[in-house]
Amino acid sequence: MTAETKELTKKEAFLNYLLRLADDRLILGQRMSEWCGHGPQLEEDLAMANMALDLIGHATTLYEYAAEIEDEGHDEDYFAYFRDDRDFTNLQLCELPKGDFGFTIARQFLFSAFSYFQYERLKEAKDEQFAGMINKHLKEIKYHLRHSREWVLRLGDGTEESHNRIQESFDELWMYTDELFYMDEVDDLMIKEGMGVDSSEFKKEWKKLVEETLSEATLTVPDWDQFMMSGSRNGIHTEHLGHMLAQMQFLRRSHPDAEWK
């Protein structure tokens, strides 16, 4: 009963890297799209549909490239519709139920801030096609960051109720933030190849942006030293993901031979 570990190839690492990026965006976009028609005001229905569209659009492009890299005849839909929850490598942060508007905003802010720093570096990746799509998505990420940051300020420094609500959301989300900076041999190899980013390099900057925003929003920064969740990059998830995938994949899986594009 011994475990053997094979050396990770560059191709495998890249595939994994793309899937992690894509899974985050698909799952978060799927959550965001649950707001459709249920937003607090029409402008936000529009903004949230827009962000969902961006996120799922980014995921689609990343999956397409993953299919190309994998080179086994799959298409982008394969990764979204025919993998199980143990195969998904999205952050637990992204799969948590949408909560109230404040929760959605707080999560989007934390995630977009991370994506921003990550993409700012990733756009220099030594793979033209990859760097190209990252660069293209970055513009939209900046909008997500600005939009969610503005709402953090409004809710934090709005009324007593909104202050308390979004404070509670940040408190709840905190233990899922450490995973943003998780790195393993996939990252190591990608960094070595000039294709990945070392997230520890911008952790300080990210923290600073988060802390300054929360402080400007008159919010308390939760304890960074609390227990932090882990495991999602290896397919460990909350029970929420399975239910989401059941809805998301049901129709497609029910008709495996049908064409839906």
Binding site: C36, G37, H38, L42, L53, Y63, R154, S162, L251
Partner: protein, 314 residues
Amino acid sequence: MENQEKLNEFQARIDAGEKIEPKDWMPERYRQQLIRMMSQHAHSEIVGMLPEGNWIERAPSLKRKLVLLAKVQDEAGHGLYLYSATETLGIERDELVDQYLYGSAKYSSIFNYPTMTYADICAIGWLVDGAAIVNQTMLARSSYGPYSRANVRICKEESFHKKQGYEMLAKMADGTPEQQKMAQDSVNRWWWPSLMMFGPHDSDSPNSAELIKWQVKLKTNDELRQHFVDRMVMEAEAIGLTLPDPDLEYNEETGHWDFGDIPWDEFWNVVKGNGIMNRERMKARRAAHENGEWVREAANAYARKKKLQQEKAS
């Protein structure tokens, strides 16, 4: 009478094909009719997000998910500029929203039918957006400037939605046996409701004559409906789907397709709020509004604070 003079002048402008703009004088009744029509149009765009939103999570491919999201986003956008256009008539959006959530304002009753299968999303794109386009193409030439311009913009996007729905429905009609069955079943369910979207027969439509006189509408309900039927018969045939009306027949004399009796009982029932999803739609919209109150309050409080700070600083 000065009033009659103004009215004559107004009618002359209309008859000359001029657009009426917000600052122009207009009869109170004209204003009220427009508020009713435009806000109902806006409410319909908003409620319309729900039956479609119902399938975003379950859309069967990433592409279809994106298409649907973009469509719903457009609808929110239409809602927004229709409310803005209505506000030019001197009424606030808050009041309009209040009238439809808690008052008697209506939205298109088509949205009280459930989207049971994904094919319904395609059938809605084809038939419901198709019917809406017929209506809105006319409204794009409406006498009220802001409404006319809003419809020009809306029509462009709706045409795109219709095309996407039609194409996917065509693919399903040409797909696996299950897809074919689903597509035909959707058309069977959505055909009559889409005909009802044009409203009651002209003989039962008390507002029509006045609206036409003012060129708010340029055609009657029955004219629009006939135009729609003629077009859909061809489009259905082109993709091999059957319309569920045994009385559909080409009339050589009129050059139009005759069709069977519309189930008006059902129409009036659904209009009265007895559609299968009516209560759910209102519940969902009210919940969205009420659960969002703290958010809107926070945004207002924040804006006030910032304004105060700026005033102090200057």
